[in-house]
Amino acid sequence: MSEITYKPGKEPHPRETRRIFKNIDREGYDPSIKCFMKDGGYQTLKKCLKMEPADITNEVKKSGLRGRGGAGFPTGVKWTFIPKGNTKPVYLVCNCDESEPGTFKDRFIVHQDPHQLIEGMIIACYAVQAHYAVIYMREEFPEAAKIMQKALDEAEAKNFLGKNIQGTGFDLKIVLHRGAGAYICGEETGLINSIEGVRPYPRIKPPFFPAAIGLYGCPTIVNNVESLCQVRQVMMMGGEAYAAEGAQRSPGTRIIGVSGDVKRPGVYEIISGSITYGELLYDICGGPRIGRKFKAIIPGGASAKVMRCDEILKDRNPDGTVREMTIFDVPMDLDSIAKFGSMSGSGGVIVMDDTRSMPKVLNNLNRFFAWESCGQCSPCREGNPWMYKLSTRICEGKGSPEDVDLLKSVADNICGRTVCAFGEACSWPTQAFTTKFREEFLALTKPINALKPHSAETAEARKFLTRED
C-alpha cells in the first residue's frame, strides 16, 4: 500500500488508528469509485461473494462487533434474529439519520468515502440475503445525498449492484431515501415507518422487533453507517483478528466526535479502550481553552447522563480492592462508562468548562427534546414541554427550590413509560443535571417564587393578592 498523506492541518493525531476514517481528509482522495478501487476497494466484497452467507454472519459474530448507533447491540447476533424458515423478503436499512447532538461521524463517511459504506452494505445484504436495501439519510445532508446517489450509480455500472452481481447470481438494489429533519427517525422502528410513508411514530417492541416484523412487515436489519463500515473491516481483517484488538467486550476501532469547550474539537478514530477520557481530552484535543478548567462531560451524545469532572468514581480492582478515580481515568470503550451510570452511546463527547451554567445547558437540551418528541406517547409529549418550561423558569430566576425537585420528578415519570427509547433519552439529562449540579439549580431559585403566579393570566387575576417580595 502506498504511503497515505493527509491534507495539511487535517493529519490524524499519533494516538489515532485510522481504519474507517482512513480516507477522510486524505490528500488526493475523492468519492469516486475509481479512487476507491485503486485503493483496494470492493476486493473484500469479491472475497465475501465466494463465501457462504452464514459464514459471513459467523465471522461477524466471532469478531464481537457491536453496533455503533448508540445501543451497542452485537451486529452479528442481530443478523441471526431473522426467523428461521422465513419465506418473506428480507430488507436491510442503513441508518444514516445521524441526529444525536454531539455525534457527527457519519457525515464524513457519506461525504468523503461513500463506497466504503456501499461495500459494507452489499456484504451485509449478502450475509442476510437481502435483495433490497435502503439508505435512510437525514435531510440535512443534501450534498451527501447527491454524492451517495452518484456512488450508487457508479457501483451499479460496475455491477457491484443490480442483477447478478459479479456473476454470482446475487441481486441487490439499494435505494437512497431522504428523511425530513425529524430526530425520531433515528429510532429504528420510527425510521421504518418513515420509509413506509407514514408518520414516523416508533412501534412497540415486542412484537415489532425489526428483525422479525420490520419494513412492510418483513424481517428487516437496521444498522448504523459506522457499523456497516466496520462489517467490511471485519471481513477484511478476519473475525478473530478483529476481536483480538481493543477492549475485550467491544473490540475494534471507535469514532469519537468531540465538541464543546476544548482546544481542538473534531472526530478521532481510536482503538476501543486504548485511551482514557483524560487522554482524549488533554492529549488529543489539547485540553481546555486557556485559563479554563473542565467542568462537565457528556460522554455519549446529548441523551447520555452528564458526568462531573470533579466527581470521585469508585471502581473495584480485579483483586477486590476499591480504587478511586475520576472521569478522566475511565477508558473509552462501550462499557466502562456504563459502570458509573452514564453511557458511551454513539461516541459524541460534549465538553463544558467552568464558564458554563449547567441549568442553561440543560435548558438547551430540554428545548431540543421538547421540539423533537414525536407526540405519540403522552408522558413524553406532555412531559418534555413541561420540563422545558420548568428549566426556562429556573434559568430566568423565576423558579422556586421546589421546581428543581418537580423537574426531576417529571423526568422520572417519563423514563420507562414510553414506546421507544426517546423517553429515556430525554429524561436522563434532566435526572443527571439536577442531581449532579443541584446546587447550581438551587442558586438560581428563590423560595418566594413558589408563591408567585407563573403566567400573565394568573398574575392579572391575583394582582391584589400576590406578595411583592
Partner: protein, 246 residues
C-alpha cells in the same frame, strides 16, 4: 354553510409568504409526473406510499414549499389520501408549508453549536435580514424577510457539532460561522442574485431579439412556423441556484 373552516381545512390553509415570488407556482407538468413516477418505481410493488417523502422533497426543491394544491396531487401520485399527505407534511420540520426566501438560512441552536455561540448569531442575522427575532416562535420557527429574499429558521442539530456554530444556506453548510462570515455569505448571496438577474435579463433580451428575428423570418417566409421562438422561451426561465461554498 358556516364560514369557519374545519380542522383539516385549517391545517391545509395556504400561508402566504413574500418568498413566493422567487419560486414558480405549483403546477402539474408532464415532467413532474414523470419524476414522481420514477420515484414511485424505486420502491417495491404495491408500496407506492413509500414515495411520499421523496415526492415531497422534489416538490419542495422545485416550488420552494409544499402548497395546499400540491398535497392532493402528491396523494394521487403515491396512491394515498390528501389527509395522509397533510399528516406527513405537518410532522416533519424539514418540510415547509410556507415558502422560504430565496436564500434560506438554517442556524443550529442545539447544545454543541450553542456552546460555540450559535444562538447569539440569531439576533444578528435577524437584524441583517430586517426581521424581528420575536417573530420566530416555537410554533413557527421560520421567518421570511419582507422582500422575500431571506428566510431564517432556527433548527436542531445539523450534525457537525465539532465545528460550530453551523449555518446552512440552502444546501450548503458553513461551519465556525462568525458575524463577519454572515456578512460575507450574505454579500455572496446578493452577488449571486445580481448575476442571476443579469443573466435572466440577458436571456430575456436574447429571447426578444430571437422573437423579432423570427417574426421577420415569418414575415419573409409566411409558411414557416416559429419553432425557434418556443425553444428560446423555454431556455429563458432562471435556474434555481445554490450559493457556492468558498
Amino acid at each position: 354553510m358556516s364560514e369557519t373552516p374545519n380542522a383539516i381545512d385549517a391545517i391545509t390553509a395556504p400561508i402566504s409568504s413574500p418568498g413566493e415570488k422567487f419560486f414558480p407556482k405549483f403546477e402539474v407538468t408532464p415532467e413532474l409526473v414523470a419524476k414522481a413516477q420514477e420515484l414511485v418505481a424505486l420502491y417495491p410493488e404495491g408500496k407506492e406510499q413509500s414515495a411520499v417523502l421523496p415526492i415531497i422533497h422534489h416538490v419542495q426543491e422545485e416550488f420552494g414549499y409544499v402548497s395546499p394544491e400540491a398535497m392532493p396531487w402528491i396523494a394521487e401520485m403515491c396512491k394515498s389520501t390528501p389527509i395522509h399527505v397533510a399528516g406527513i407534511v405537518t410532522f416533519y420540520p424539514g418540510i415547509h408549508r410556507k415558502c422560504p426566501g430565496k436564500f434560506h438560512f438554517r442556524v443550529c441552536r442545539t447544545i454543541a453549536c450553542a456552546l460555540a455561540g450559535g444562538e447569539e448569531l440569531l439576533p444578528y442575522i435577524c437584524s441583517k435580514m430586517g426581521v424581528e427575532p420575536s417573530e420566530m416562535t416555537d410554533e413557527e420557527p421560520m421567518v421570511v424577510s419582507p422582500d422575500g429574499l431571506w428566510s431564517l429558521e432556527a433548527v436542531e442539530c445539523l450534525a457537525n457539532c465539532g465545528y460550530g456554530p453551523n449555518v446552512m444556506v440552502n444546501d450548503t453548510l458553513y461551519s465556525q460561522v462568525t458575524r463577519g462570515k454572515i456578512d460575507e455569505i450574505m454579500a455572496a448571496c446578493k452577488k449571486e442574485l445580481a448575476a442571476e438577474r443579469k443573466e435572466a435579463a440577458a436571456a430575456k433580451k436574447e429571447a426578444a431579439a430571437a422573437r423579432r428575428e423570427a417574426k421577420a423570418a415569418a414575415a419573409a417566409e409566411a409558411t414557416e412556423t416559429t419553432e425557434d421562438e418556443s425553444a428560446t422561451k423555454k431556455a429563458a426561465p432562471k435556474k434555481k441556484a445554490t450559493p457556492k461554498k468558498k
